[in-house]
Symmetry: C2
DNA sequence: CGAGCGTTTGAGATAGCTCAAGCCGGGTGG
DNA sequence: CCACCCGGCTTGAGCTATCTCAAACGCTCG
């Protein structure tokens, strides 16, 4: 078993948590999408039961598949990868959670996926039991949760499209274009994209091997669509060409 | 553009609807999953606003992506494929809706996917506006919808795993094993699976070409895991071997 | 300055794509 | 009732994208 096998990817360096938890502090917290969906009153109720977690490092486990699910999480800052391992032990990154995203909804009381930090991150943690009660009392709040889950479903369907139809260069382009939407990672003026992920993470996200990701980068660079300033810092030289690459065919006719 | 291009797949024979709609008739309708989640009172309310649609043929359009979304649907009998077309015009089958499944939730008032019958089918049609109001009034009903959408999300994540990690023979095995769960299609005693889908549909579901699906069937047959009685009728000769195939590695080491 | 991880590139093997041709079964019309 | 036709299915051939194993490179941290 060379890589990508069960417990985790390369950095199984098992650094330990170093997480600090503190009660919700209204003053310090930037507003997030989930809050924006709620009324002030609802927000304050949610804050009353939320805890803020600060993960100082990457590759920290938030929760693991199969564990009892007591909490739901929301990203305040940083990036969390939501993963699942297939029977063969290979890891798939199902989704990347960015600020404002919600994750950790239980299935029959258990987490079905694992979640780890991809870089230092700040999260809200909300006890599921209390949230559940609150939802039953407040239909408007619940419908907001429904909207979020429906959004996640559409995102997942988008991933299905990409995995089912695109070659690796197209998937990578699509991934880069997605990250360019977030000013946390993309400096639009200088056209510089700073990726928080390793090639292993990107590979597991795109359903391919890290070497293939590296080669896809090389290919995009040769075609002058991007330029690698370093492995994590990518200059976007031609976003339109990236877009039209994604829109093209998976394979060009051999004739 | 040989196949799999925009409007639809081979049978663009454009047969027209022949749909019959009738008000909900309590006596004739088998209970479906969505109803099972609801109390009697809720059920009767839902029935009051539901219409039953009967599609007599396959390849009938229920709705198309981009249309205004006025209704939500639930499958009573038959199979519906939910599809989306990529920019290149290729079709992806995002999900197959079987009896009890719900589909057609709008995104910003529009359908984001298309839905077509795969065989003759009976559906419930519920006006979204009325359902929405009902949900706001009845939190328990809403939480059931939330559970359904969360279920769909997990299904979609499962598809992501399969598309991202498995080779075509594994995907096909996984597809067959799924269908074996439904007594509508699988005769457990005789071990006969009757597929409602063409090779084109299966290919678009599994993210591959129909020829490759045919070859995967040939491979499974040669390994004595299945036997094709006809292209649509498959004898399952070794379900355990199918399962362990799915659990194995995508590609065997070359050495 | 060495170790370790992550990245890149190379080489060889192969699964799956595309085009093409033949087959097969069921429905239709003579 | 049979022959034909058409759509779907299968198989073949050639090509290439991607996988796997290897090896070398280069940060970064200690």
């Amino acid at each position: 078993m060379r890589r990508s096998t069960v417990p985790s990817r390369p950095s199984a360096k098992a650094r330990w948590p170093e997480i600090r938890a503190r009660p919700f502090d209204r003053e310090r917290d930037p507003s997030t999408q989930i809050e924006n969906l709620l009324s002030r009153k609802q927000q304050s109720k949610l804050r009353a039961i939320a805890t803020v977690l600060e993960y100082q490092r990457s590759n920290n486990t938030v929760f693991s598949e199969g564990e009892d699910a007591h909490f739901v999480y929301s990203v305040v800052a940083g990036v969390v990868r939501v993963t699942r391992h297939s029977d063969s032990g290979r890891r798939q990154v199902l989704a990347l959670m960015l600020p404002g995203d919600l994750f950790g909804l239980p299935d029959a009381g258990l987490y079905v996926n694992s979640a780890e930090t991809v870089c230092p991150a700040t999260l809200y943690r909300v006890p599921w039991a209390q949230l559940r009660e609150m939802l039953l009392r407040e239909p408007e709040m619940q419908i907001n949760l429904l909207i979020r889950v429906a959004f996640d479903l559409r995102q997942a369907q988008r991933r299905i499209m990409i995995l089912g139809q695109h070659n690796v260069a197209q998937r990578l382009s699509s991934f880069l274009l997605d990250f360019m939407q977030h000013s946390d990672f993309y400096d639009a003026r200088r056209r510089l994209l700073t990726l928080p992920l390793t090639r292993f993470d990107i590979g597991d996200y795109l359903g391919t091997a890290p070497e293939t990701v590296a080669r896809a980068f090389a290919r995009l660079e040769k075609a002058a669509l991007v330029r690698r300033h370093s492995s994590r810092v990518i200059e976007i030289r031609n976003a339109d060409a990236l877009r039209s690459l994604v829109g093209g065919r998976r394979r060009v006719s051999p004739h």
